[in-house]
């Protein structure tokens, strides 16, 4: 797999580090990892950077993950970039909401690197 750029969006800096570590443990070659503490910050980063995948929490202050996905089409750089939600909100309604809003995958916290790999590799490989 080619090296990829990832944007990790979570209000917890510890969780952002854990997600990055999980991506590396899943065997991903990360050429760049960008971080944002909420959806608004992430939109700002995407206005100036290109990434291959976005991993995003739902419950965040300022702008939550669901609102972030809804606003994502307004960012030219984010066109077609897959979003995977990583969140404690694991109910069916939240999954449906996230997928309806445009998320391509959904990982519940707590999670393993293996679960991250299972969700993300097919998405990066371009599988539906």
């Amino acid at each position: 797999m080619n090296s990829i750029s990832a944007l990790i969006v979570d209000d917890s800096s510890v969780m952002r580090k854990i997600v990055e570590r999980s991506l590396r443990q899943a065997g991903m070659d990360l050429k760049q990892v960008l971080e944002a503490a909420n959806g608004a910050e992430a939109l700002g980063i995407l206005n100036e950077n290109l990434v291959d995948i976005i991993l995003c929490d739902i419950n965040m202050p300022v702008m939550d993950g669901l609102e972030f996905i809804k606003q994502l089409p307004t960012v030219v750089n984010a066109k077609g970039v897959p979003v995977v939600m990583i969140t404690t909100e694991g109910s069916e309604a939240h999954v449906v909401q996230a997928i309806s809003a445009g998320a391509r995958g959904y990982i519940r916290k707590p999670f393993t690197a293996e679960q991250v790999k299972e969700q993300i590799l097919p998405i990066l490989a371009g599988k539906p």
């Binding site: 209000d11 917890s12 510890v14 419950n59 969140t87 109910s91 069916e92 939240h94 393993t112």
Partner: protein, 161 residues
């Protein structure tokens, strides 16, 4: 129907939630900290020192809190980040809050009917030794006293009426 019985009717008997809360906590510690939790015979904390709180609102209203001393919280953060940490600083508080958040989220996802109808607050972490948590409800809290690396961690779920 009283609020407590309304909760019971919607989501099963809260008296049966203790094993679910314990299972939720065990999974978080096993998957995110690579550590097992065991039951503690004692509930007595030397100096609690740090508490993470996550509010629940919706079909179930209440507060999940997790308490331990600063040394224990620092070890939790070290395990989560897989790096040595020597003192309880902002990163430790962040990690500890996330543990509370994940235990609360994992618990509510295990209770039938609760996942979709209950929202979580972002976690709040309180430090210090001279404080108490007072509930406005008469419903007794579900309490668990567990050992993480032989250090006491207390988890409580206070349901609001």
């Amino acid at each position: 129907m009283t609020p407590a019985s309304a909760v019971s009717a919607a989501t099963g008997d809260p008296e049966n939630w203790t094993p679910l809360l314990e299972e939720a906590a065990r999974e978080v510690f096993e998957l995110m900290l690579n550590s097992s939790l065991t039951r503690s015979a004692s509930a007595k904390q030397e100096v609690p020192g740090i508490t993470a709180m996550v509010g629940l609102a919706g079909r179930l209203c209440g507060l999940l809190s997790i308490r331990c001393n600063r040394k224990t919280a620092t070890l939790m953060a070290s395990k989560m980040l897989a790096m040595e940490m020597s003192e309880a600083d902002g990163e430790v508080f962040d990690a500890f809050g996330e543990v509370g958040n994940m235990v609360a989220g994992n618990f509510k996802n295990k209770v039938p009917g609760l996942g979709d109808g209950c929202m979580l607050s972002v976690p709040t972490v309180v430090t210090g030794t001279d404080y108490s948590l007072h509930s406005t409800t008469a419903v007794p809290a579900i309490e668990l006293h567990l050992l993480f690396e032989n250090l006491l961690v207390s988890i409580a779920l206070q349901i609001s009426e």
